[in-house]
């Protein structure tokens, strides 16, 4: 069951009507014609009211991925820099607050935008720049290219992006390989990933100051790739931060889900406090994050997990409770005999804290529904002291979550922070 905007988004280029909001989205546009009324100046300046949103949906994911649960997707348009004709609309791009940067699977690029239309980045040695992205569940290898990314009605122009599985990339260096390869839509689980976490770049100062294995690679036309330092501006960037307006953070706004359902449609809003639709309500708290790592603290059952996080890219609550049985088959998840009502305390570096209630039900029963939206899905984190409490996408159901970027101020508080 796909919403109408979803089907429409499969069309090529041209304008498309976003059902439900009546917004008009067009591809590319080097001019500022799309952004009438941009105030600019200062972080998070407001753009055109009401045009700072894009629909998002939790569904089964791209058919090639064979089904997914509790993962959030949107549709974007990728264009050659400055072009309004060399463009490709890409559906089932995962919306991820656990990473920064836009990455597209080469296989998701059609004939209207071959990878070669997006110029490959050249590194400090004058050679093609490739990138390795190491996730917890595998690695993705590809080129770094420059493109214009259109999300809803906002554009990140001349954005360094990663093209995963790009045939033009060099052979994968051994130092990139950690876990299985995720260079196809089937293994990656999406046609791309829209990394809109708290950081402005994917690696940051560490990669600007030195060559680090498993990140950026200098790949001469002949010979093998070697790690290379890359300046901040040339690193793969959080695209929202490059929007002309509404660029100080994002809001993920999903309706509540109380039982397994097939899909859940919501809205990704750009900017915080820049327009009437993204003001942080007075009832919400601001929880600042560790500026190096992007983590906060969560105390559960008397144990404080200092490296916890709120992550749209995780598909369940992951935490440690040895009294809850793990499932017989799906051992990465909990299978209590009856639904548990639990709570944990989230605390930011600023000392602000809040008790959050959540439910955990039987994951095997959940999976048996074949539904994509499983609001009470949870599993063990495998860590205790100084470890993880991973508030995955179920945390976002029925609760707008505000993600403020580093080096920006939103709602009067310097990022990085998370608000809800």
């Amino acid at each position: 069951m796909r919403s109408s905007w979803w089907i429409l988004s499969r069309g090529v280029l041209a304008s498309l009507v976003v059902a439900g909001s009546g917004l008009l989205a067009a591809c590319g546009g080097g001019s500022s014609g799309h952004f009438v009324g941009i105030s600019g100046g200062g972080s998070g300046g407001g753009g055109t009211p009401g045009l700072n949103t894009v629909p998002v949906i939790v569904d089964q994911g791209p058919p090639a991925a064979g089904g997914s649960t509790n993962l959030l997707y949107t549709t974007v348009t990728l264009c050659a820099p400055g072009s309004t004709t060399q463009c490709q609309t890409i559906d089932h791009v995962q919306v991820d607050t656990g990473s920064s940067g836009f990455r597209v699977l080469a296989a998701a690029l059609g004939t209207s935008l071959p990878a070669a239309d997006m110029p490959q980045a050249i590194d400090s040695h004058g050679n093609p720049l490739d990138e390795c992205t190491q996730f917890a569940d595998g690695y993705s290898w590809g080129t770094v290219r420059t493109a214009d990314l259109v999300v809803g009605n906002e554009t990140a122009a001349s954005l360094p992006v990663q093209v995963i599985g790009d045939p033009a990339a060099a052979a994968v260096p051994a130092s990139c390989v950690q876990g299985p390869a995720e260079n196809t839509v089937a293994t990656f689980g999406a046609n791309g990933i829209l990394g809109i976490g708290n950081f402005l770049t994917d690696c940051g100062a560490a990669c600007a100051n030195g060559a680090i294995s498993g990140t950026y690679y200098d790949c001469p036309p002949t010979g093998t790739c070697a790690p290379v330092a890359v300046t901040l501006n040339s690193q793969v960037q959080n695209p929202v931060a490059l929007f002309a307006a509404d660029n100080n953070g994002v809001v993920i706004d999903l309706p509540a889900a109380t039982s397994p359902t097939a899909t859940l449609a919501g809205t990704l809003i750009f900017g915080i406090g820049t327009q009437s639709d993204n003001a942080l309500p007075a009832s919400a708290g601001i929880y600042t994050l560790d500026p190096t790592y992007g983590t906060l603290s969560t105390t559960y059952n008397g144990v404080t997990n200092a490296s916890s996080f709120i992550d749209s890219g995780s598909n369940a609550y992951f935490f440690t409770d040895d009294t809850i049985p793990t499932c017989t088959n799906a051992t990465s998840f909990y299978c209590p005999t009856s639904t548990l009502q639990l709570q944990a305390l989230i605390q930011g570096q600023n000392g602000a804290n809040v008790s959050v209630a959540f439910s955990v039900d039987n994951a095997q029963n959940d999976f048996a529904t074949n539904d994509a939206v499983l609001p009470d899905l949870a599993g063990p984190a495998g860590s205790s002291l100084q470890g993880a409490f991973d508030w995955g996408l179920p945390f976002f159901y029925g609760r707008p979550v505000y993600v403020a970027f580093e080096s920006n101020t939103a709602a009067g508080v310097a990022g990085p922070w998370v608000g809800f």
Binding site: S99, G138, P180, G197, A388
Partner: protein, 165 residues
């Protein structure tokens, strides 16, 4: 450092060396695959491990029934390896801006991690294994990477997972 048997681990206390100093001066830490913990494998793996992990600092803290070997890799990941009195590594932990080399660190258990990760059931930022003989978690979120792997059946008596920092 590999989870599992470690038959020839030298002892050293509070040694700190910078990368670039003589490798011979570094505390040797031994890579030994559980399935093939032969002496010949160990000698070869020591040299490989020094090169692969490029440890810049290391120290050892003796506990009542085990030793904690702490090391820092070039990217700043703090790695701790827990070895019992017989020299068998029963746990490893790590935390830092980037993950250490998991293939080296997990040794013969690396393939178990790969198999779990390939199921793609938990998203891109966390992978876990919960089996009677292996508990493992790998986390990569924003700019932090951390994790832990331990062998429940090989923990020294009285040691719990809460002891693994």
């Amino acid at each position: 450092m590999t989870v599992g048997r470690n038959p020839a681990r030298p002892r050293s206390v509070s040694a700190t060396r910078l990368l670039g100093a003589s490798l011979a001066g570094l505390v040797a830490f031994v890579l030994a695959r559980p399935a093939s913990a032969a002496l010949g494998d160990t000698a070869a793996s020591i040299a490989r491990d020094r090169i692969v992990m490029r440890v810049s600092q290391s120290s050892t803290t003796p506990m009542q029934s085990y030793d904690v070997h702490r090391m820092v890799d070039p990217a700043g990941a703090v790695v701790r390896e827990y070895a019992d009195r017989a020299g068998n590594v029963f746990a490893v932990t790590w935390h830092g801006p980037r993950s250490p080399d998991l293939k080296t660190l997990l040794g013969g258990y690396y393939d178990r991690y790969v198999a779990a990760a390939a199921q793609h059931r938990t998203g891109h930022h966390l992978v876990t294994v919960h089996a009677p003989d292996l508990v493992l978690s790998v986390v990569r979120f924003q700019r932090v990477a951390y994790g832990r792997a331990y062998l429940p059946t090989r923990m020294p008596s009285g040691v719990t997972k809460a002891d693994l920092r």
